[in-house]
Amino acid sequence: MNSYVFAALLLALLAIAYQVGWARSRALAGTAPARSFHSRPQYHGTLVVLWTLIPALLILGLWTLFGDTVFRNYILGFLPADLVAAGGMPLEQAMQRVRAIASGFGVAGQLAPYEQAAGDGLRQFQLIVLLIVIAAAAGTAIIALLYARNRITARLRARNEVEIFVRFLLLACSAIAILTTLGIVASLVTEAFRFFTFVSPIDFFFGTVWNPVFSSSGGGAHGQYGLLPLLWGTLMVSAIAMLVALPLGLMSAIYLNQYASPRVRSVVKPVIEILAGIPTIVYGFFALVTMGPFLAGAGAMIGLDVSATSALTAGVVMGIMIIPFISSLSDDILNQVPTAMRDGSYGLGATQAETIRRVLLPAALPGIVGAFLLAVSRAIGETMIVVLAAGNSPVLRANPLEPISTVTVSIVNQLTGDTDFAGPQSLVAFALGLTLFVMTLILNVVALMIVRRFREQYE
């Protein structure tokens, strides 16, 4: 309720501030010589609004941060000393009861004598504090408003000041992207280091056994955290995915770019791109109920023992997911190869296939390599398909027809629903995340660099 009142008051104040700035500058402009006023009235209005808004927001912000602590201390003053000293759940419950009484909702059961007093006291105190805060916020806002109003002169560069503020706001927004990266790096590194206090980095990076033991009793048995089986699984699934996606994606792009008529292209291209919009969890389900049984059945027909959830199943479905990624990137890249190159080859009597294979593809090769690396990075980081369809069996084995596990699967297994970051069982997720982040980062940086150079080459 309170917040709505505040919002309404604030809005009203802002409307007044704008009006004041606007009207004042209009009035002054009326008396000043023509065109000597630097900024238009709406900028003066906006500037006054900013002056009014910022101190008020600061005060309200402080109150949101510390208001609760103030009330809490107030209640503590009423509670019996032994309860306060004991702390913990009983104290919190008592606190809650007092608040409920103060709000008028009341509590079930008998009231302790101090509770009624505390509740009544709190109600009055809350009212007083609320009034003080409103008065303080409104007061500073009005003082700031008046000050800003008096600043208005013909020469005040209101527009420039507003624009500086806007610019600062924009800069703050673009800093969020940097903060995100810093946040990722900081959280991964600190938590991973905490993990390495339990398990040595050597055991982690070079260990061949993945067997985290969830022991609620604590104690020394943490299990084994060898990264290699997971890394191997990740690489195997990604390799299978790329074996599916690269030929299909590249050949689709070539056909659509070079052979298909505009009409066919305008229909087929969006249909293939539908594959890119499907959520990965849906691919996972598809792998589980359709692709897995199909591959197992097909394997059985030729006498191969294919597990329904395996590196192969996950890899093939992931490959399908990546087809549109490869094909649309390759399409862009083929479009960037100048037509003059193509004409030069045709002019020499090359067939279309010869032109594509011997001129266009070599010319587009750097771009395609870049696209390939980006796709690999995506395959490595893909989670839901492998969670559902890879079989979750973190064992070093070379056979792609058997279940495996990957880095991403283990992150999900180790951290899902667990917020207790105390043991290596959950902290290992961050070490895995760090490994994954570094791998994809390298791939992305290299790929983006290659693609950028390629673009520049033909610009």
Binding site: P247, I274, I278, M384, V387, T419, L441, L448
Partner: protein, 455 residues
Amino acid sequence: MTDIPAGIDRSESAERRARVRAGLARRHRGEMTFRGLGLAAIVLALGFVAIFFWTILSKGLPSFMQPVVHVEAFFDPAVITNPAPPVQAVGQSDADFRAQSLKWQRDLAGLNWNKIVEAALRRAMPAGTEIDSKQILTVVETSERHRLREMFVADPSLLGKTVKVDLLASANVDSWLKGNIDRDLPDSQQQLSAPARALADALAANGTITMRFAWTIFANVDSRAAPAAAGLAGAFMGSLYMMLVVILLAVPIGVASAIYLEEYAPKSRLTDLIEVNINNLAAVPSIVFGLLGAAVFINTFHLPLSAPLVGGLVLTLMTLPTIIIATRGALQGVSPSLRQAALGLGASKTQMVFHHVLPVTFPSILTATIIGVAQALGETAPLLLIGMNAFVASVPATPLDQATALPVQVFLWQGNENRNFFEARTSAAIIVLLGLMIVLNAVAIFLRTRLERRA
């Protein structure tokens, strides 16, 4: 340097022509093969799309129809032994009264509502059917006895009356009647006992059980004990809250950063760094954003687990690069002449950007936003790490309540033990999810064409 051989005479030219001719057939075969390979790739890719949608639709569409048992329920005073609801006494506090009401409802829940269900079914079944109480109750979903109780709580005057009610058939009856479970399996592998299967068939034959549109999928929340009553309402609200957070945060911040980077940022090392950084962020695996959310939002800021607000924040960070990159692309596409015209008329840089450039790019920004939101809507992995895979049996009232999301619900349902039933219901959830995404994209296309036509 005059050792160049004499020019091409006729015979040499003829020899060359012969050689070119000799290779022609082979080269044209190569051409056809290459072209065929391209076509095959297209056909395969399109085939995958077709198989994919066929699988999901064929599995999922039938579960939008659900068997319902039409019976007459008698609110038997012999079963309902404490029918009188409490009344708030003068001077009684709200909290006290609420505690009393809850106690009454709890007492009601302790009654044997199954008796009422069983009696209703026995009235509806053909004469001479032999079946025991336990078996007969497997025909109706376990949630339905609670529904009868809720009906009674809402209207205690029902006591002693007979009311027509539609009870959901159980998930196992659903699988049996739809043939989702093999009807020829031996008794030991069937989920329903033989008498219950016979009863389901008999009720279907005499019109007591009919198929009805499964509103439950949209209206109900998730349920473990009563699969046939499990619905998407909670997950839908969770997703809706997250999308609101994404739209409210990612769009303004993303557009603002794009404007800064494209229009204001000085050409400096720092700007380069931000740019490289954003391109990289766009390619960071989504699960890493989940780790960020777990470490920062949950563990450092102590925001609640499983809350759509936190999910929305994580998805916002994930969507930002998409929106920034697309908006920058749109800003780059604005012709320099427009900028120069605006500046030439004495507009300041900020005026030029906000009054002239931004309106032109609005359609592209809108499209990018919708595509980013659609992508966020389908994301699952990061949400698992911030606890949004918890089982939540209520519709979240605020973005801070526990909730799950549509794609996470798909993840939870596909792992359910009642495979026969949930394979279908998961497909239905997928259809809902894909349907939403298609609607979003259609809106994007519609708005873009409209706005572009006007521009």
